[in-house]
Every structure is written in structure tokens, then in C-alpha cells.
């Protein structure tokens, strides 16, 4: 996994609560057997005026001028400011893959759906939870100032605003460690292979019906 230590970037606000995973990446793009290439179809149904299909050349499609992503001032954004319950709906990891492929490295929101939140960490994306009041203030500031950028320092667990002031945030210590070092979970878990084997042997002795032959 790619390391995450510090990220400075332009902020794009998405003014909508309960953004679901179908909104982030529509189902037709889930037919891919790859992990990459989803960026051009991020927010597809809102970003374009027509219906997207896998394999289509997206560069010739009509853009929705009203959608925030198509406003020139947010071009190249890497920090996404999103509203409550971001990423609700399906478990599709294609959602963080699409955000990552487009270039988003940080999401800041008051709350997230559980599965999506978890999936972000597996892909080197940092989802930050901030208090609603602070969040609302950030939203106003981003809207007011073109070129508004933030720096996110994971080691110190702070968001640095353009005026130099900081917003502290919480992050699970294990997830922080994995992000900072770019570690993949499987390798870490397999360090506990002996504990897993010991558990498995005990469990098989007490509940053998879960280890039966297949029909």
C-alpha cells in the first residue's frame, strides 16, 4: 500500500449528505476485474450529462457544468470535503479506488458509513472525521476563497489551514501506523499465524460442525 504521511492540496466541497456508493461509482463500472482506471467515472451520473459505460472514451462526453467537480477552480483537488454519512450503501471498494484514481487522498466529513470508512484505509486514503461546527466553518471558508488548500499531517494528527491555524483529528492508532508505513494488513496478520492456528484447533475441537465435509 502507498504510504500516507503528509498531504497538501486543493479542497473540493461536495455539498450533499448521504452520498452513497452508487453516486460515487455507478454499478456498470463494477464489471472491471482490475483495481485501477475508475477515476474518469468517479461521480459519473452527476459529473456527465449522459450515461457512462465501461470502455467508453470519457473525454468526449458532455460535462454537467453545474457539478462542483467540473468547476475550473476545483481542478486538481486532492482533499474532498463531504457531508454526513458519506459512502453509505454497498461495500464496493471501487468507491475508494475511484476516489484514489481521480486523485483524492484525504476526505473530511462529519461522519461516514462504516464499510466505506474501513475501505479507505486499505487504499492509502485518509478519511478524517471533524466536529460538525468546525466542518461547517471549513465549508464556508472553502466556498469563499478560490484556491483554498489544506495540509494534512498524519504524524501530528492535524489539519493545517491556510492561515496556519490547526484542527486536531483522531485516528485509530493501528490504522495510522499502517498508513504511515504503507503496510498491508495481510502481512501483519500473518505474523500471528501461530495464534490463528492455535485458535482454529481449539475451535474445531469445540465446534466441529463448522469444519464438516462439503455436501
Amino acid at each position: 500500500m502507498r504510504k500516507f504521511t503528509m498531504q497538501s492540496g486543493l479542497v473540493m466541497p461536495l455539498d450533499r449528505a448521504n452520498v452513497d456508493t452508487d453516486f460515487i461509482i455507478p454499478k456498470q463500472f463494477l464489471k472491471s476485474i482490475k483495481r485501477s482506471g475508475f477515476g474518469p467515472n468517479l461521480f459519473d451520473e452527476h459529473r456527465y450529462l449522459d450515461k457512462g459505460e465501461p470502455g467508453r472514451d470519457n473525454s468526449s462526453r458532455p460535462l454537467n457544468p453545474d457539478f462542483v467537480m467540473n468547476k475550473p477552480r476545483y481542478k486538481g483537488a486532492s482533499v474532498l470535503l463531504a457531508r454526513e454519512n458519506f459512502g453509505c450503501g454497498s461495500s464496493r471498494e471501487h468507491a475508494p479506488w475511484a476516489l484514489d484514481d481521480y486523485g483524492f487522498r484525504v476526505i473530511i466529513a462529519p461522519s461516514y458509513a462504516d464499510i466505506f470508512f474501513n475501505n479507505c484505509f486499505k487504499n492509502g486514503i485518509l478519511p478524517i472525521v471533524v466536529d460538525k461546527k468546525i466542518f461547517d466553518q471549513l465549508f464556508l471558508e472553502v466556498d469563499a476563497a478560490e484556491g483554498y488548500s489544506l495540509t494534512v499531517d498524519l504524524e501530528r494528527q492535524v489539519i493545517v489551514k491556510p492561515d496556519g491555524s490547526t484542527i486536531a483529528f483522531e485516528v485509530d492508532s493501528f490504522r495510522k501506523y499502517c498508513l504511515l508505513h504503507g503496510l498491508d494488513d495481510i502481512g501483519i496478520t500473518l505474523q500471528d499465524a501461530d495464534a490463528i492456528k492455535a485458535f482454529e484447533a481449539r475451535w474445531k475441537a469445540s465446534a466441529p460442525w463448522y469444519f464438516g465435509a462439503q455436501a
Binding site: C88, S111, S173, G212
Partner: protein
């Protein structure tokens, strides 16, 4: 010491290692696999030179991309017209062969929606931990299993280690007291619950559903309720084991037999929350207050009783919710104050992992029997959840009832619940759907979904607009 909740018991019995930072390694008994969220996980294993930790703990069947017309299905893989979809399905076949994983492939009579097939085969057992790269894995909690959806990285993790890295959730109890009104179903219960607590109400919790109304549901009904726990934000829903559970499981192909069955059943009877267990949040709902439900918006929490009307955003105090309602009404093409019964339907979809089991099909057939689909309904699909559900329905003559009424009788798969195959809702069309999500574009680009129970979808098919199914079921104008 206070007692344990069912969730506590399931968690404790699968705890491999508790880390100091609050995360834990949880042992996984069963991983269910479908074609959409698994290819990148298998690829990850290949690239790292890893093999599955315990291949026989995995169980696969393709469902999302599978065509549902008989003509297409008779051609096998060639019947999948979209080459990208076909590659995804054949990739699952290839991966299962390469890694020694049991698969019911698309030509197998037992194939179907993974959340229908798992319980049907007895691959879902009480007391198990179950994962699948699919958020509706919460379904399996209906059998007293701790089951939840995971992302593809976690699919790979479970394949490689048989464990999942987890932080323990909080405990929520949703108790539905008393008896359900006649004509009110499990789907109405869960939609009413989501309407009450909201789509983020269960975030961070495992929800146990209890109370007399839940206890009196069949396993099919319980699966409908747990299936939509994720729509309330909870990764897992649970229902305690009772004799209904054991009766459902006994004799299924993957269930233990003989002496082993007796031992297992004895252990499973303890899979209930202790009477003095602590829940972090308790929600109590009176079953008598629930009547048939219909969603009017683009989130499952945007739901109203059939006797109600589309709400007015201007009367909503919360600004975020007000804006969400406005966006939803614009997308749905609905005006505030419209009576739910005045919403006209272009399409009917009876199917999905929420409502495609035999009991669902029986309920829908009972409503349409001897009647005809309304002229304004352009498409009405009945898609059984598995090949075995289809076979059972045909043995009972349900297929003929649907066909005579003017509905299409299809082959098993996810179909128009998420429209990854050819079954898609047209732009601007309203669909009465027994599925689980009414998100924008979910059933097709620009499509407008209304979530309802199978009986309500069937009633809407006959009238061409929503009606209170109780008026059909309990009045005298029933045709012979």
C-alpha cells in the same frame, strides 16, 4: 457481572487476538463469494504467491451479472451478451478452480443470489462468523450468525488469513413488540425501522432485532429484516436462535447430520442475549403502529405509510435534511403533498436478496392470482432468488399465476435490484421494487425506485399505482 448480548457471545467465541489499540483479529468461519468483488482479491493472492488459508471455508456463486431470461440462460456463458460481464463471470469460475473453492456456477441448478443460496444450502449456520464482499451479508444474521459485508481488500485478507481485523461494535436492540397487523410483512417492519432511526442510525452498532413481532416471523421474513440492517447503517443485524431457526436448517446439504446435528443444535440454543445483557441503545417499536410502507425518495429512510403522502421539504427544520429532500423530490419527479396512492408505476420488480424467497413469491402470487397487470405497467418482473426457489415455486404453480396475470417469470439472479445485467429501469420510470436501495440510478440511469414488500409490489402491478394491499386481501371483490 452483567450478561452478554448475542453479539458479545459471537464476538467472544471468535476472538483470536485482542490488540492493545482496540483492534482485534476475529476468526471467520465462512466466506461467501460472488463475481463482482472477488477478482481483485484473487489477483492479490496470486501476485503475493499466497494460497487460501482454508479453501473449504469459502463458497462461491455468480449472481450480479447473470442474465435472467430463459433464452439467454439456455445458452450458458454465451448467453451473457455483455463481454465485460461475461469475463467477470468466467473469471470467478477460473479463480475457484485455481484456488480449490466450491462454486455453484451459473449453469448449476442451485445457483442464485449468494444471500439466498448460502442459507438454502446450509452454508450459513448459527454461531458462525460470515463475511462476503457485499453489504447485504447482514442477511445471514437472521440465523444467529455474525455476518457482515466487507471490501475487496478484506476479501483477500480473509482468504489469506481466515481472519478479519475488526473493532468491536456497540450493541443496539430494536424490539418490535406485539403482533403485526394482517397484511403487514417483514419488509414493512424494516422500512418502518429505517424511517424511525435513519440510514445512519445504526452506524457503529450491531443491531439485534427482537420482540414478539420478530420472533413470530419465518426465517425468510427474518432474513428480509436483517438484510436491510445495512440500510440503517449497521454492518450486521442479528436475530436470536430459536426452534424456527433449527427447523429451517435441519437437513440442509451443508448442515451437520446425525449425532453432530444434536450436539450443534444444543450449542446453538444458547445463541440468545442473556436477560441481563446491556445494550448501548434500545429502540422499541409497537408492531400495531406499522402499516404497509412505501419509499418516496432516494434514501431508504425517505419512507411513508401507504395512507400517507409525499412530505414537504419546507416543513423540515433540519437544513441538511431539507436539502436532501429537495434533491430527492426533484430526482423522483414528485410534488409535496402527493398521496402515496396517487404515484403511478411503469415497472414492477419482485426479486433481490431482500425479497426473492419462496414465501415472498407466495405472497405476491396470492395478490395477483386471477387478476391482470394494469395497462400502464410496461414491465413486471418476478426474479426468484435461486434455482431451487424457482423450482419450488414452479412445483406450487406460482409461475403460472404470475404469467397468467401478465408478469414475466425469470431465471435467478440479482437482476434489476442493481441492474448490472440487462434488466434495467428506464430514465424517469417509476418502479415498485421489493429490493433494498432506492438510490439515484440504482435500478438504471435516471430510474425512480420505490421500495415495498412483495405483496405491495404485486398490488401495485394490478392497479398501476400504489394501493393498500390490505384492501385487496381483505375485501370481498376477490376473483374466484
Amino acid at each position: 457481572m452483567t450478561g452478554k448480548t448475542l453479539y458479545d457471545k459471537l464476538w467472544d467465541s471468535h476472538l483470536v487476538k485482542q490488540r492493545d489499540d482496540g483492534t482485534a483479529l476475529i476468526y471467520i468461519d465462512r466466506q461467501l463469494i460472488h463475481e463482482v468483488t472477488s477478482p481483485q482479491a484473487f489477483e492479490g493472492l496470486r501476485l503475493a504467491g499466497r494460497r487460501p488459508w482454508r479453501a473449504e471455508a469459502n463458497f462461491a456463486t455468480p449472481d450480479h451479472n447473470i442474465p435472467t431470461t430463459r433464452e439467454e440462460r439456455q445458452q450458458g456463458l454465451e448467453g451473457i451478451r455483455d463481454p465485460i460481464s461475461r469475463i467477470q463471470v468466467t473469471t470467478l469460475d477460473d479463480n475457484c478452480r485455481e484456488f480449490g473453492i466450491f462454486e455453484l456456477d451459473m449453469n448449476d441448478e442451485r445457483q442464485g443470489i449468494v444471500h439466498v443460496v448460502g442459507p438454502e444450502q446450509g452454508a450459513t449456520l448459527p454461531g458462525m462468523t460470515i463475511v462476503c464482499g457485499d453489504s447485504h451479508t447482514s442477511t445471514h444474521g437472521a440465523l444467529g450468525a455474525l455476518a457482515h459485508g466487507i471490501g475487496t481488500s478484506e476479501v483477500e485478507h480473509v482468504m489469506a488469513t481466515q481472519c478479519l481485523l475488526q473493532t468491536k461494535m456497540k450493541n443496539m436492540l430494536i424490539r418490535v413488540d406485539g403482533r403485526l397487523n394482517p397484511g403487514v410483512t417483514a419488509k414493512d417492519i424494516v422500512l418502518a425501522i429505517i424511517g424511525e432511526i435513519g440510514t445512519a442510525g445504526g452506524t457503529g452498532y450491531t443491531i439485534e432485532f427482537g420482540g414478539e413481532a420478530i420472533r413470530s416471523l419465518s426465517i425468510e421474513g427474518r432474513m428480509t429484516v436483517c438484510n436491510m440492517a445495512i440500510e440503517a447503517g449497521a454492518r450486521a443485524g442479528l436475530i436470536a436462535v430459536d426452534e424456527t431457526t433449527l427447523h429451517y436448517i435441519k437437513g440442509r446439504p451443508f448442515a451437520p447430520k446425525g449425532d453432530m446435528w444434536e450436539k450443534a443444535a444444543a450449542a446453538w440454543r444458547s445463541l440468545v442475549s442473556d436477560s441481563d445483557a446491556h445494550f448501548d441503545r434500545v429502540v422499541v417499536i409497537d408492531a400495531a403502529d406499522i402499516i404497509p410502507q412505501v419509499t418516496w425518495g432516494t434514501s431508504p429512510e425517505m419512507v411513508a405509510p401507504i395512507t400517507g403522502e409525499v412530505p414537504d421539504p419546507d416543513k423540515e427544520d433540519n437544513p441538511t435534511r431539507r436539502e436532501n429532500m429537495r434533491q430527492a423530490l426533484k430526482y423522483m419527479g414528485l410534488k409535496p403533498g402527493t398521496r402515496i396512492t396517487d404515484i403511478k408505476l411503469d415497472c414492477i420488480f419482485i426479486g433481490s436478496c431482500t425479497n426473492s424467497r419462496i414465501e415472498d413469491l407466495r405472497a405476491a402470487a396470492a395478490v395477483v392470482k386471477g387478476r391482470k397487470v394494469a395497462a400502464n405497467v410496461e414491465m413486471a418482473l418476478v426474479v426468484p432468488g435461486s434455482g431451487l426457489v424457482k423450482k419450488q415455486a414452479e412445483a406450487e404453480g406460482l409461475d403460472k399465476i404470475f404469467i397468467e396475470a401478465g408478469l414475466e417469470w425469470r431465471e435467478p439472479g440479482c437482476s434489476m435490484c442493481l441492474a448490472m445485467n440487462a434488466d434495467q429501469l428506464g430514465a424517469g420510470k417509476h418502479c415498485a421494487s421489493t429490493s433494498n436501495r432506492n438510490f439515484e440510478g440504482r435500478q438504471g440511469f435516471g430510474g425512480r425506485t420505490h421500495l415495498v414488500s412483495p405483496a405491495m409490489a404485486a398490488a401495485a402491478a394490478i392497479h398501476g399505482h400504489f394501493v393498500d394491499v390490505r384492501d385487496i386481501l381483505f375485501t370481498a371483490d376477490r376473483p374466484a
